[in-house]
């Protein structure tokens, strides 16, 4: 079995992995990126539509173009990349971290590292996760799989399509399928508001005249060999209106019902996972409960925009480098979720440095105020015209704003 040693190993070569690796490299550490696919870029490679990079590059790029900008830097810096390599296990062995991975060319490898950056991305929730009853015919796909089939493999999974869930990937696929000559009959969403970005509702549904049924539940899928249709039931004041249920004939069902961070590796390594994010618990350095193991991108929590992914990943990479050089925060404050907040990330902040926090709302609200409270006292607040769970919020906390913090102080974020 091949043995390798690096200062840092980055697991996953998507946007997050590349951004983190570049930071580690820039600070003089040896880095290896392990990526299971035969190219870098991750999920970006199948997102051939525009709209990536508005924050990062101040221009509109496609997913592969965005990825290419990072890949070029990785190549230019001569960062080592092992493609077609699947990480199977992370272990602590004799005080070091060992990563077991396998590839057809190299066989099994044991890579020893002082620090690891987790950047494995996320996977899509599927039919079983949302428990739609009915038959199990061909023609049911997650939106991301359909995106892959159409954009990269060049196949059309079906002609008469219904999309379940109004997540961004589903919305984008509604437009993509329409462009490919398919009829998208409807998008069905259980919640009273869409879970995708507003710009996607406009550009991908409204522009194509695709109806969006909010507060509707798919209660049956029928068809034996291939999907023949679905049954949709309206929800009124929380109750299913069975007498108003209707059917939509279709040969294809695409599911866009959420993403889940891919943390099986982390879990097996004993890293603590947060139930609110399905990602690792992290401290002010984005370090998990396994010392020296950092996390960023969609494996940490699901992001709406790749721009935020790379921003976060840069910090994880820089922090991992600092950690390698011996930096440890002198003091950390606990971060609590207050009213109307589903999660705040990270779970600790460093009062002596600038902290970037990400959070999601539990509610849809106009004219809201995002408040940061230090031991109950508001130290920062911001007006927000509109908040909804699907749009991530962020804020920066400077050391000056935390000057009143004592040893056991707590920060609480709330939406009022």
């Amino acid at each position: 079995m091949k043995q390798l040693t690096f200062d840092a190993v980055v697991i996953g070569g998507g946007a997050a992995g590349m951004a983190a690796a570049l930071e580690l490299d820039a600070r003089g550490h040896s880095v290896l990126i392990l990526e299971r696919e035969d190219a870098l870029g991750g999920i970006l490679m199948q997102c051939i539509h525009n709209g990536f990079g508005l924050i990062e590059f101040n221009e509109e790029l496609t997913g592969p173009e965005f990825a290419q900008r990072f890949e070029e830097k990785v190549v230019a810096r001569n960062i080592q990349v092992s493609l077609r390599t699947t990480v199977l296990d992370i272990r602590e062995e004799e005080g070091a971290k060992a990563i077991y991975c396998v590839s057809p060319e190299q066989g099994m490898m044991r890579v020893q590292a002082r620090t690891i950056v987790l950047a494995m991305g996320c996977r899509e929730r599927n039919r079983g996760n949302i428990r739609i009853p009915g038959t199990r015919p061909a023609g049911i796909y997650t939106a991301g799989l359909a995106q892959r089939l159409v954009n990269i493999e060049g196949y059309i999974p079906g002609k008469d399509v219904v999309i379940i869930g109004s997540g961004d990937i589903g919305l984008i696929m509604a437009r993509r399928m329409s462009w490919s000559g398919c009829k998208v009959h409807a998008v069905i969403e259980i919640l009273p508001y869409p879970s995708g970005l507003t710009r996607n509702i406009v550009q991908c549904l409204n522009d194509f005249g695709i109806p969006l049924y909010l507060s509707h539940l798919v209660t049956d899928i029928y068809g034996n060999d291939r999907v023949e249709g679905i049954e949709v039931t309206p929800i009124e004041s929380g109750a299913l209106m069975h007498e108003k249920a209707f059917k939509i004939a279709c040969d294809t069902v695409l599911l866009s019902v959420g993403l889940v961070p891919e943390n099986e590796l982390s879990r097996n390594a004993g890293i603590e996972i947060q139930p609110t994010t399905n990602g690792p618990w992290v401290d002010s350095m984005l370090m998990t409960t396994m010392p020296g193991v950092f996390a960023c991108g969609n494996v940490l929590h699901v992001h709406d925009l790749v721009d935020y992914v790379v921003e976060e990943a840069r910090r994880a990479g820089a922090n991992a480098a600092a950690w390698l050089s011996g930096y440890r925060p002198a003091r950390e404050l606990r971060v609590k979720t207050g009213q109307n907040i589903r999660y705040v990330l990270p779970m600790r902040i460093n009062p002596e440095r600038e902290n970037r926090l990400y959070m999601r709302s539990l509610v849809v609200k106009n004219d809201a105020r995002l408040e940061v409270r230090l031991d109950g006292a508001v130290v920062k607040s911001r007006r927000l015209a509109h908040v909804q769970p699907s749009e991530m919020l962020s804020l920066t906390l400077a050391p000056e704003e935390l000057s009143a913090a004592g040893r056991d102080s707590t920060i609480e974020i709330a939406l009022v």
Binding site: G107, M108, R123, L145, L149, I156, D220, R226
Partner: protein, 486 residues
């Protein structure tokens, strides 16, 4: 390139035995008969074997205490259950004797436990034990703490039913049995000492003896032979499958106290580490009605939580349904009294899987009684080639596998850790649909349910078989996966 075994299918003039239906019963009969100097053909209407009831069930090797020894099914169950250790060694399929618990949640259920216990003792079940509350919780800490007592049958076990059938069929094939899929028996006629059997597509084969192991359709097959008239009623059992990360995974199979009509909703740790909860018991609309329903699945969750409170709907990765071939209260395994040389293997409800190896023996004896000459083959090989699984290999073993075949280093299904080499092995063994590959390898069976690997499997299938994209199906028929290309 078409898979190896499909190529080796040359037609025989007249077969000694034709077996109709490649479920676990037909497969066991086929493997048993492959020990003798006979020309045997196994006929299956679907595109692959084991796509009937034998793929969607609880996968339990039962404990031998649910039915009284006076019934045929109890006798075959007890005999069959004892045969699994040997079969497991010979045939590469996942099997484990994890033990079975029957848990009583109320004092008034203890009467029924006692009766099951006495029945088990009378049936000769080895190691069966009446348990106190403390003993039950010691055997299974995940149990509802309100348990008042129960029964423990240590010899009960779990297996992957489709892998069992695949291995049986592979073994039968290795020993000369021919397998014809997409051969739906529609009509038969006795001419001289021979049955002429016609399939829906018009193909015809001839055989001296016939075994009707057509599961749900054993009634219509019997009718096609002009034999006994009877009716099989489909009775549905719905399940949820839970992710292997669930905190609710017990280490033993947990049964509630049975009712008149069913064994109840069970919590089953599968051999592959996931958890199965179910099955319900309700009439099906038809023999093709495999739909799950919200009400029944809610009942599954509720009843399973009574046994193991930690079960959460967040752990659900999929649901499915299987159909019991209900007919009377016992198995119907007998020579036809109306027509010659036909054996019915019908009404094989639970514990059919457990009993199936014994059913193979029993049917062989019936055929012998009807005049079939049995001469043992000197070179019968009981073992199938074991396909190494990346999932089971430690780092050194996997390194060695990749050195032999680089395709072991390409992990296609990340959730269940299945390599390309295993997918190729499935295809070469004749499983050329997405479902067939899933049952053989477990790829697409994990938490992402194929979200990441389906397109990779499609690529491999096309490469290995030469199929076009529009020929790829989920499980044959019209279950086409792709509808066009750009």
């Amino acid at each position: 390139m078409i898979s190896d075994w499909k190529r080796s299918q040359e037609m025989k003039e007249i077969y000694d035995v034709a077996i109709i239906g490649a479920g676990v019963c037909g497969a066991n009969v086929a493997r048993k008969l492959s020990q003798y100097e006979l020309d045997v053909v196994l006929l299956e209407k679907e595109i692959d074997v084991s796509l009937g009831t034998s793929k969607a069930n609880s996968g339990i090797v039962h404990g031998g205490f649910h039915d009284h020894i006076s019934t045929l099914k109890a006798r075959l169950e007890l005999q069959g259950a004892l045969m699994f250790d040997r079969l497991h060694e010979e045939l590469d399929f996942p099997f484990e004797r994890c033990g079975i618990l029957v848990a009583a949640l109320h004092e008034d259920e203890m009467k029924a436990i006692e009766q099951l216990y006495l029945q088990g003792v009378e049936n000769g079940v080895i190691g069966i034990e009446m348990c106190s509350r403390e003993r039950m919780l010691e055997l299974e800490p995940k149990l509802n703490p309100d348990v008042v007592g129960g029964l423990y049958a240590p010899s009960g076990g779990i297996l992957e039913p489709y892998r069992f059938v695949f291995s049986l069929v592979e073994s039968a094939r290795n020993n000369g049995v021919q397998v014809k899929t997409e051969f739906e028996v529609e009509a038969a006629e006795r001419r001289g000492d021979c049955w002429h059997i016609r399939a829906k597509g018009g193909q015809e084969i001839r055989a001296r003896y016939v075994v009707n192991s057509a599961g749900l359709h054993a009634d219509s097959v019997s009718a096609a032979f002009g034999a006994e008239r009877f009716t099989i009623m489909p009775r549905k059992g719905e399940y949820y499958l839970l992710d292997r990360t669930t905190k609710a995974k017990p280490s033993r199979v947990i049964f509630p106290v049975p009712t008149e009509v069913s064994k109840g909703i069970l919590v089953i740790p599968t051999v592959e580490g996931t958890v199965l909860i179910g099955p319900t018991a309700s009439p099906a609309q038809s023999k093709e009605d495999f739909a799950t329903t919200r009400e029944q699945l809610e009942h599954v969750l509720h009843a399973a939580r009574m046994m193991v409170p930690a079960i959460s709907e967040n752990d659900v990765i999929t649901s499915f349904a299987g159909l019991r071939a209900a007919y009377g209260s016992d198995f119907y395994i007998a020579l036809s009294e109306k027509v010659p040389a036909l054996v019915h293997v019908a009404g094989i409800q639970s514990p059919g899987l457990t009993a199936s190896p014994a059913i193979g023996e029993y049917v062989k004896d019936l055929l012998k009684k009807a005049g079939l000459r049995l001469v043992e083959k000197p070179d019968w090989d009981p073992c199938v080639r074991k396909v190494p699984r990346a999932r089971d290999a430690d780092p050194f073993a996997l390194d060695a596998l990749v050195a032999q075949d680089p395709a072991y280093g390409d992990i296609v299904c990340r959730c269940e850790r299945v390599s390309e080499a295993e997918i190729v092995a499935a295809i070469r063994a004749g499983h050329t649909t997405l479902d067939g590959i899933k049952y053989y390898t477990r790829a697409q069976m994990g938490r992402c349910q194929g979200g990441f690997c389906t397109y990779k499997i499609i690529r491999i299938l096309m490469r290995e078989t030469g199929m076009r994209f529009d020929q790829i199906t989920k499980r044959g028929g019209d279950s086409f996966v792709l509808k066009g290309s750009l």
